[in-house]
Symmetry: C2
Subunit: 130 residues, 2 copies
């Protein structure tokens, strides 16, 4: 069983919950390189995997051009140590960014709590003696 299944653009879009435009955009950016049947895009299994990697990268907060670099590296020489080290560096960068963003969010939540307390105090003052 060779499992040479292929997918249309709509099938992939549907499966991954993205629009056709998104997939075409990713191809335009060099993130995907589907085969063609005439003008139509034919997606093989490798293309599916790549799309999954792109979307996963997005979930992790990587920008598309960074995703492109990383995926490209894996395509070229999967598992070469220099590339693994590069990827580890990128992971470290991303982790720091994410942790900073989480700190920012926590600070904002604290400020929100404080603001809410004051609002409720005002409200009590107004309705309490109405």
């Amino acid at each position: 069983m060779d499992a040479e299944r292929t997918w249309s653009i709509a099938e992939l879009a549907d499966e991954f919950g993205v629009t056709l435009r998104t997939i075409r955009f990713y191809e335009e950016q060099g993130l995907l390189t589907p085969a063609r049947n005439g003008t139509r895009r034919i997606f093989a299994d490798g293309d599916r995997v790549r799309l999954g990697l792109v979307l996963r990268g997005k979930r992790l907060g990587f920008p598309l051009d960074e995703i492109k670099k990383i995926i490209g590296m894996y395509d070229a020489e999967p598992g070469e140590t220099g590339q693994l080290r590069y990827l580890l560096d990128q992971i470290e960068d991303r982790r720091k960014e994410l942790e900073q963003r989480r700190r920012d969010i926590d600070a904002a939540l604290s400020e929100l709590d404080e603001l809410e307390r004051r609002c409720r105090a005002d409200l009590n003052r107004l309705t309490g003696r109405a």
Copy 2:
């Protein structure tokens, strides 16, 4: 002591760590309404307070037009119960968004951990038997 001090645009920009362009933009958007001496902007104490509120709103993740609404409400009838309730609603919305974003970030961090583990395993495999 009437403390009628005023500020130039540059002084305020400096104090709050924003650019002149930012302050002019806020005025353009109706977030600030400084007085004029001829064509030059003269900022009074109330303007300073407003700028502080705007930047605080930004730290909390509010978009500028939402900030404008909220500040406008406080200007109109500070402490009216309907407006306090509206503000409390907005706070609730923002809190939910922030908490969702924090969950997303935590999920991303977990995925990053997992990815890093695999990278390190690959790296060990490659360098271990070199």
